[in-house]
Symmetry: C2
Subunit: 135 residues, 2 copies
């Protein structure tokens, strides 16, 4: 696993919507915008709330890994993170996420918690260095 | 193949940056922001310029399909499109893309043209209908 540096953490904290990519077992990519995506205090774990995942959840069950990028009007630079995930539908972490999501709006079902471990970080700024491994 | 409807076309035309997802043959997802992504006049073909693709190009060569979504501050609603692609590095279409990209900035190498055929469109607005097939 790798820890985001302070610049990356800062950019992460400013993001409101993240593009979350998954793939089916046989490699069909899928990408959706997600709103609840929180870097944890260890700087290498990301919590993602599943409120209305359909294909994303199917993909995660058969191929438990994700990619997402951090970039937007709020941030400087752009980087992509990748890593494996685990799905929780009960337990302390799930309950904590459930409360956080419910405090944001009762309309969100907070069905499951997707816990991502960051294992790779890539440069994503357009230019000759795009795609280079940063961490 | 499927044609985008007029509402979708309108949203597409307003987008400046698209999240483009691919996957390796063995299903590792990848997602990057892209700037040159143009719906063609047939409403079912998308041209994507490869300027600095690295992993994306590797993925497309071994697993020629993409997913992207149309959503942003500029648009209403949100939808995801999926489909197979072809890569062109010569010919009339490639030359046309090359000129368009170069007119946007000489720093862009316009290395290849990725031609996507839209085969599926999915609802991507957060809510109980998220993930539903629209077209």
């Amino acid at each position: 696993m790798v820890k985001l540096n302070s610049e990356m953490k800062n950019a992460f904290s400013k993001m409101r919507i993240f593009p979350l990519a998954t793939a089916s077992k046989d490699g069909v990519p899928n990408v959706i915008p997600i709103g609840f995506c929180k870097l944890q205090e260890d700087d290498e774990t990301v919590w993602i709330a599943d409120n209305f995942f359909l294909k994303t959840l199917e993909n995660l069950k058969e191929n438990p890994r994700v990619a997402l990028y951090v970039w937007g009007p709020e941030t400087q630079g752009c980087f992509q993170i990748k890593g494996p995930i685990e799905i929780k539908t009960s337990g302390e972490d799930y309950e904590k996420m459930y409360k956080m999501v419910k405090s944001m709006g009762d309309r969100f079902p907070a069905r499951s918690l997707v816990i991502m471990k960051i294992t790779e970080v890539y440069e994503c700024v357009s230019g000759p260095d795009a795609g280079k491994k940063l961490l």
